[in-house]
Structure formats: C-alpha cells, structure tokens
C-alpha cells in the first residue's frame, strides 16, 4: 500500500503540489500524463532520492518520508532498464541479496519464471532490449520489495518485446499480488495494466479514478483532451439538449451541473451526402482540412464557426472522394456527447 499525503516538491522552475494518492495493497495503479507533468519526479520522491518539501509518504502504513532509499524496500524499473553494465546478468539479479538475506533466499524460481536461466553468464551489452528489461525486473523483485514502481517500462522497447513484457508484468502482478505504481504517457498501456489511474498535468493531479471512468467521463478539459476527446466546447445544457453557439445537440441526460461538452473525433461520422433521419444529431459544415496520419486522417470541419475534429480511415476518405472545401454532413450519436463541468467549477473539486 502506498499513500502520499499533501506532498509538495518545489524545485527551481518546477513544482509538484497538492499530491494526494492512495494505491491499495495489491492494486496496479497508473500515473498518466504528458512529458514534463512531474510523474517521474513523484516516483523518485517515493523512492527517496528527491527530497520532499512538504507532506508525507507511507508504504504499508509506515511513514517513510525521512528515510534514505536503502531503507524503504521499494523496487524500481526504469524504461532504460538501468542495469549495471560492469556486472553480468547473475550479478545484476543478485545485487541486492547481501542487504536482505532473509527474503527470497533462492532466486531459482524467479529466474526461471522470467526465462533467464540461459542468460545468467551473459554481459549486459549483449542482451536484447526485452531481455534487459526482464533482467531489470528480476533484479528488483529479487529483494522482495513491498511495492514496485515502473517508470514507463515499455516505452523504450521494440513493439514486439513490448507485448511480451507487458503480459509478463500483468501476470506477475496477478500471481504475486505485489502493489504496482506505474508511470506512463500512453492511455492504452494504463488501460491494459492498471485498475485505477491518476492523470497528472504540470505538477498537479487532475483526476483520479478507475481507468474506464477516466476514459469515459473526464472531468477537466486537459483530461478530456488526454483521453482523446479532442472536441471540447463550452455549452449551455437545457434538459436533454446541449446548446453550442446557435447549435442544439441532443444528448443522454446526466445529473450534475454541466457547462461544457466533449466529443471523441472517432465518434463523429463524416460523409458527403446527408444522412437518413434517425436518432443521431446531424450537422452540415465545410471541410476545412484533411491531415494525413498514415492509416487514418484527421478531418477538420467548420460548422457555423465551431471547429469540429473527426477521424476517418483513409480508405473511406478515398472512396467517398472527400476534399478540402467540400460541404459535408456530420453525425454524432447522443450517447457520444460527454457533458462536463465548466472551467470555473473544476478547481473546486477535491481529489483523492
């Protein structure tokens, strides 16, 4: 169990503030956020190498705030694996053994579990990326930490290794019941690995909750953008309708005091001709731009001065021969329109 209370770290030019987090025993928790949000800094404060300005850190109920890293028993797995290059695989794995002889006296099962039996005598620089990450994992687990921190453990890996290590981490977590706190900037990764997640931005936590809840119901414009709701508009909500400018969109009714809507670009369908009548919202606008993204494309449509962003496959775009400047029709299902609190109310929420 990890608990972070009112943590603040003030550095020249950057500050983490008001960090409150609780990771339950055996839970896998993801810290999400863009580069520079302060995620790694928070991890390093929990390990104990960055001094804390204010606040407290508890692991399994013990206050560790003042302890040096070597007395915290927290494992760490970095994206660049941080293996000791002058030691071989076996020496790397056994590195922490002499400081905690009581735990895990036999590393055999762990080594076998991670498929490292045949690599034990190899030098670090001769390993592949995936092998290095497995060795690093074995090294941190060999001292039986109460908590394992993962700093983007998959980012630096080849896509194929990535799937292996991801699966390995998941099953290890399920089997050992170790508490995991992982840092990532990739929502899909958080979705696969974690039960709950916190989204960080500029040194603050913007939203905490189950992964699905954050994906489906972001509470701030930043989180909405981060989970892919690229369309964010201030709106007036009247009953089942959201009024944006002089547009009226039907939505499903939700309880709460809402002053904005957010829509995923992939939930906006675009075509040249009008849609047949139905239960969806239909709009007409001008296609401003098509931005190629490889297999798919971003489509920017202006509807009465409001810029909508849609995503469509290039296959479909080519078939329908949509081009910049065309008049196009949009369809948005009511259940895909996400109602949000306004900007003003968001700072009033309490997190944690």
């Amino acid at each position: 169990m990890i608990r972070v209370e009112d943590l603040a770290i003030v550095l020249p030019g950057f500050a983490l503030e008001d960090i409150n987090l609780q990771v339950d025993p055996g839970e896998a928790f993801a810290l999400l956020g863009p580069t520079g949000a302060g995620k790694t800094l928070l991890l390093e404060a929990i390990i104990g190498v960055v001094p804390v300005t204010r606040g407290r850190i508890f692991i399994d109920g013990c206050n560790l705030t003042g302890l040096p890293p070597e007395r915290r028993r927290i494992g760490i797995l970095y994206q660049d694996h941080a293996l000791f290059p002058h030691l071989d695989v076996a020496e790397n794995i056994a590195y922490g053994q002499r400081y905690c002889t009581s735990v895990l006296p036999d590393l055999g099962p762990l080594i076998e579990r991670l498929g490292l039996q045949r690599l034990l005598k190899r030098r670090i620089h001769s390993l592949s990326g995936g092998e290095k990450q497995r060795v690093a994992l074995a090294r941190s687990l060999a001292v039986a930490p109460s908590v394992l921190l993962l700093d983007e453990p998959l980012t630096a890996l080849d896509p194929n290794f990535r799937e292996d290590i991801r699966g390995l981490l998941k099953t290890l977590h399920q089997d050992t019941g170790i508490t995991l706190l992982m840092v990532t900037h990739d929502f899909a990764e958080a979705h696969f690995m974690a039960q709950r997640t916190a989204v960080m931005n500029r040194g603050r936590i913007e939203q905490v909750g189950p992964v699905d809840a954050i994906f489906d119901r972001p509470e701030t414009p930043f989180v909405a953008d981060f989970v892919g709701m690229k369309n964010f508009f201030p709106a007036v909500i009247e009953g089942h309708d959201a009024i944006i400018g002089n547009m009226r969109l039907r939505c499903t009714s939700q309880d709460g005091d809402f002053h904005a809507v957010a829509i995923r670009p992939e939930n906006i369908r675009v075509r040249k001709g009008p849609f047949d009548g139905g239960t969806e919202n239909y709009l007409e606008g001008k296609l401003k731009r098509i931005l190629n993204r490889g297999f798919y494309a971003d489509v920017r449509v202006d509807v009465d001065g409001i810029p909508f962003r849609a995503i469509d496959t290039r296959r479909h775009l080519n078939r329908t021969a949509l081009a910049e400047g065309d008049t196009v029709h949009l369809a948005i299902a009511p259940e895909d329109i996400h109602l949000m609190r306004g900007l003003r109310q968001q700072r009033q929420r309490l997190i944690g």
Partner: protein, 278 residues
C-alpha cells in the same frame, strides 16, 4: 484511511532529515572545503597581506613594471602565434576524420606533460651551433639564447595546447551543415570560414587566447633556461627571492597575481554561456 494506526508506528518522524546529514555527504563536503581552502587561502592571503605602501613601492619600481610589461608582451606574442598557426590546425582537427587522429591529439597535449626546464633545454639544443636547425637560425641571424625571440618561442610551446583545445571545441560546436549551406549558396571555403565559422566560434577563440596567454605568463622553468635576461616577471620573482628573501619578492608576486586575476575575470566573462547565446 485512519491516521491513528499509521502514526503510532515507531518510525523516524518526517523531517528528521537523515538523508541530509548522512556521513557520506558529510565527508564529501569536508573534503571539498579542505580543497577550496587549500587553493584559495594562500592566494587570498597573498593578495591581502601587502600594505598599500608595499604595493605603491612595487608599482613605482621601474624594474618591476618593465618585467611585468615584458611578461605581457612575450605572452601576448605567443598567444598571437598560437592564433595564427593554431586556428587552421584546430579547424582541421574539428572537421576532418582521419586514421591516427587520436595520436595527433595526444601529441598536441605533450607540452603540458613535458617538464618545464626540459622544454627550455630541448629548444636550446635545437638552436645550438652543432645542430642543423641551429645553423639555419644562425644564418638567418636569429638568436634564441637570451633574447625575446627565445622567450616567445618557449611560451608558444607551453601555451599552444591550451589554445588549440579551446578553439577545437569551439569549432566542433558549429554545425558542419551551416558551412555546407553557405557553400551551396556560392560562398568559397574562405568566405564561409570568415562569414559563418569565425563569427560563431569567436568566443572560444577568445577563451583560447586568454588561456594560452595566462599559461605563458605563468611559465618560469622553461624561460629561465632560455633567457634570464630580458627578465620576465616570474624570473624577477625568483631572482628577488634568492637574492633578498621572501618578503622582498612578495610585492612582485602580488603584481603578477593581479595580472592573472584580470585574465581570470576576462576568461569567466568570455566563456560561452550554457544557454547558447553567442
């Protein structure tokens, strides 16, 4: 989450700050303090000790002024020679890759490692009448022993590596691509060097000049072999020390330290900033 159970545990309280006073850091800090004191104390004492009268006396002694002037003149000339020959050499080393490059780099650093009197002796040996090179010099009517030429020669020898290394680093920091673009726009290698490379590397060249000159000003062992007269400041310090004792040599030493301090401040001012503004 109830706080009572957690807080009751017998663990160090937060803020006890055991990371900050750990013996590792303490010992490192102590060692650092000793080093700083070891370097700074003698120099500070040196500058602070002499009375205003002592200093006035020093600066009104024409011999002292002449020696310091000779030091500045010979070192400056050495720096200039390093500039003329070292700049194209540093440019080649920064831009070209060739087998044996590391060996050439080592050779450039050799003068730093050669004992100072040996430098003087080696140059004198070359210039002697028994040596082919010495005979050439003789025919050209160039004297090394006991002349300004000789002093400049040894000072260039000891100062060169400092100039070349500083300027090479400066040239390496100028992207080769800028030169490619300049030439594709019609500029010759010369124009490119003077319009692009030089304006972007001048700070490093200034740093190199100052370092070369500072090293040359401080040289004694090589100079004293080649030329006791005309007297440069370090030789005068030595002469006064051996002839009249410590107290009498101090004012000259202070005068020379002042010169070095000015060079040191110039160097700090000239050093390229890390934020990259030229």
């Amino acid at each position: 989450m109830s706080k009572t159970t957690d807080d009751a545990l017998p663990l160090p309280s937060p803020g006890s700050g055991c990371c900050r006073v750990d013996p590792f850091l303490g010992i490192a800090l102590a060692a650092s303090a000793i080093i700083m004191a070891f370097i700074l104390l003698p120099l500070v004492e040196m500058v602070v000790q002499p009375s205003v009268d002592d200093l006035r006396e020093t600066w009104s002694d024409p011999d002292v002024i002449r020696a310091i002037g000779m030091s500045l003149y010979t070192s400056g000339t050495a720096a200039l020679i390093a500039f003329v020959f070292g700049t194209p050499f540093a440019y080649l080393m920064a831009r070209k890759q060739f087998p044996g490059k590391r060996l050439v780099e080592s050779v450039v650093d050799l003068p730093i490692m050669i004992p100072h009197p040996v430098v003087g002796i080696a140059l004198l040996s070359m210039a002697g009448r028994h040596h082919w090179f010495g005979r050439i010099l003789n025919q050209l009517n160039i004297q090394i022993m006991g002349t300004v030429t000789g002093i400049v020669c040894v000072l260039t020898f000891v100062g060169l590596p400092f100039y070349i290394n500083a300027v090479k680093t400066g040239f390496e920091a100028v992207p080769a691509r800028l030169e490619t673009v300049s030439r594709s726009l019609g500029a010759s290698p010369w124009s490119t060097f003077f319009r692009i490379t030089l304006p972007l590397a001048w700070r490093s060249m200034l740093v190199g000049l100052i370092m070369c000159m500072a090293r040359a000003v401080s040289e004694f062992g090589a100079v004293v072999i080649v030329a006791y007269h005309p007297m440069v400041a370090p030789v005068m310090i030595y002469e006064r020390f051996t002839a009249y004792g410590l107290k009498y040599s101090q004012p000259v030493a202070v005068g020379l330290i002042m010169v070095c301090l000015v060079l040191f401040l110039l160097l700090r001012w000239a050093s390229p900033r890390k934020d990259g503004t030229a």
